[in-house]
Symmetry: C2
């Protein structure tokens, strides 16, 4: 490993001062540099294959130009997170566009705040995108209220922090409207997670909105709760089949859960979509490869990542941000699982 090439080396080769090298390479505005000198510096830098030392730059500017993507999930949840690649890619692309880099920082659920504190205070990163928040963390609340540059991926009612999410309630309405439009009147819902998860609660709200606005009454026994996994979807489906009469259409608020539910329904002899229709939520890559392919709400995963990073970077730059709580559009993807004309 040869010695590092520093700006001083470039300066010597070009026959100018190190200051001049800095001015030329950073295109500092207002500094008058002759074309001749500029050329010499650039040539010297190229010849020596000079790369400025980023740690030194960070030390002196006080900015790291790194943002952290902090994922706050259990390993099991994380492993089956089909969206991470897309979200992360969105984060990265937005970051790169503003000359930022991305630190990947999953964190044990219990000490998320400590880790964020460490990253920010130690000067590891300029800001944080926090995914998978749970609203019961006081330490984290502290951090937010002290004005840490932080964007939530998701939504956290009652805490005034920047966030990026989809309109879960409206998206759920869209899904349920589709079922109603296909003349289903006996509806059931499988909520994909405990209602402490705000996304789950919102999607249930959307379901109620549409059922009620169509003059139908919400049968509470036709609402079952799952717990993220396909297995929990199977059990939830089992419960729904006890309803009398059983629902003819199911809205499951995540595809993963929907897939479990479909398996159970098939096992019990129901044909899909002839006897029972299904709409999921997320549009995970495997949704289209179900038998039958699953109608679902597409989550703009890449866009969520992109928007979160973009918003965070604006906050870091102290830009005046008009809307600190973004809601992205989602889209109903109609497939064969509810028998609509394609």
């Amino acid at each position: 490993m040869q010695k590092r090439v520093t700006a001083t080396d470039v300066a010597e080769l070009a026959g100018v001062s190190r200051t001049t090298v800095s001015f030329v390479l950073n295109n500092v505005p207002g500094m008058r540099i002759s074309e001749e000198t500029r050329r010499k510096v650039l040539e010297a830098a190229q010849q020596l294959d000079y790369h400025p030392n980023i740690s030194a730059q960070r030390l002196v500017t006080g900015q790291t130009r790194i943002i952290a993507y902090v994922e706050r999930q259990t390993p099991e949840q994380a492993f089956s997170d089909a969206f991470l690649p897309q979200v992360l890619r969105g984060v990265h692309d937005a970051a790169t566009a503003s000359n930022y880099e991305v630190l990947f920082a999953p964190v044990p659920v219990e000490n998320g705040a400590e880790r964020c504190e460490y990253l920010l205070r130690g000067g590891h990163v300029d800001g944080i995108i926090l995914s998978g928040p749970r609203s019961d963390d006081l330490q984290l609340r502290d951090l937010l209220e002290r004005g840490a540059p932080l964007v939530l991926q998701g939504h956290w009612p009652g805490v005034a922090t920047a966030s990026v999410d989809i309109d879960n309630r409206e998206a759920a309405r869209m899904a349920v409207k589709h079922l109603i439009g296909l003349n289903h009147r006996q509806l059931g819902m499988i909520v994909h997670a405990p209602l402490a998860y705000t996304a789950a609660a919102s999607r249930l709200h959307g379901y109620r909105d549409i059922v009620e606005s169509n003059g139908l009454s919400v049968d509470e026994s036709c609402i079952a709760e799952a717990d993220f996994t396909p297995e929990s979807g199977e059990r939830a489906m089992e419960a729904l089949l006890q309803c009398d009469p059983p629902p003819t259409a199911i809205f499951a608020s995540s595809d993963t859960v929907a897939i479990g539910a479909m398996r159970e329904a098939k096992r019990m002899g129901y044909r899909i979509p002839e006897d029972m229709s299904f709409v999921g939520f997320d549009d995970i890559p495997m949704a289209v490869y179900q038998d039958p392919p699953l109608t679902t709400v597409r989550l703009p995963a890449y866009g969520l990542g992109w928007a979160a990073a973009d918003l965070l970077i604006r906050l870091i730059a102290q830009e005046e941000v008009r809307e600190r709580n973004l809601l992205l559009e989602s889209e109903l993807i109609i497939r064969a699982s509810c028998g609509a004309e394609l």
Copy 2:
């Protein structure tokens, strides 16, 4: 945003020199510090909530304690990479265990080497894990030959670089043996990617090994090539069904492709596993939710990430590493798609 707390502040509060603070907080061996002083320093640090500035540490030590995970794939490939969460988690956990952090750096396929060069020379990171290599990149070869701290996730014949992979050939053998053991004699294979991808070539080798060692001849028309996607799997299956007689068992060297192939076989009226058996490769999360669930070779995704990071960190530390080319164990996961007793 209040002023940064520096080691000097801690020193003043504790009534000692900054040097002493450094010695205490870093537990520098050989430095005799009285218990009294040590206590005062630790208290002061705690009271001020001191976090050392990592950029300054990096500048002076010349180490960043960051490794980059460089993903060199097209966005389409990356989006459907069901393993990224697990691999990345493995990388992160191993990194954290050695007090390293992880930079996520996907990179356009065409200028991977430039980006690696930038990351290393600019002092962004101490080393790189490179995933998704293609063997036709000369620039990258240069980088490797100059001894850059780099671990390949995968295998690159003819280039002496550190790497972590599974034994693709042996894993494929395992899969095909299973089919032979179920008394199949008419075998077909769908290679999941062009043979320029070394993993694809190795898996095909494994297939040939077992077919031949069982005294069967490899019918070249019963080998079809796909291109990563399920659609390409459908087309490949279409081709295999032209064989006379058609195969009774298919080894598809990725689950994604296998799923497409199964769909096509079902469409043509074949029952699985009664009329035709399938074995995939990867054990993606959706494999178990196929109808029927797919028998496949499980890739130790987390372990690959972990091992890659661990190896890289040893290389960075100039440790004497016995084996620079690791092969991890994979495992045959038997499900219903080939009719074996469960």
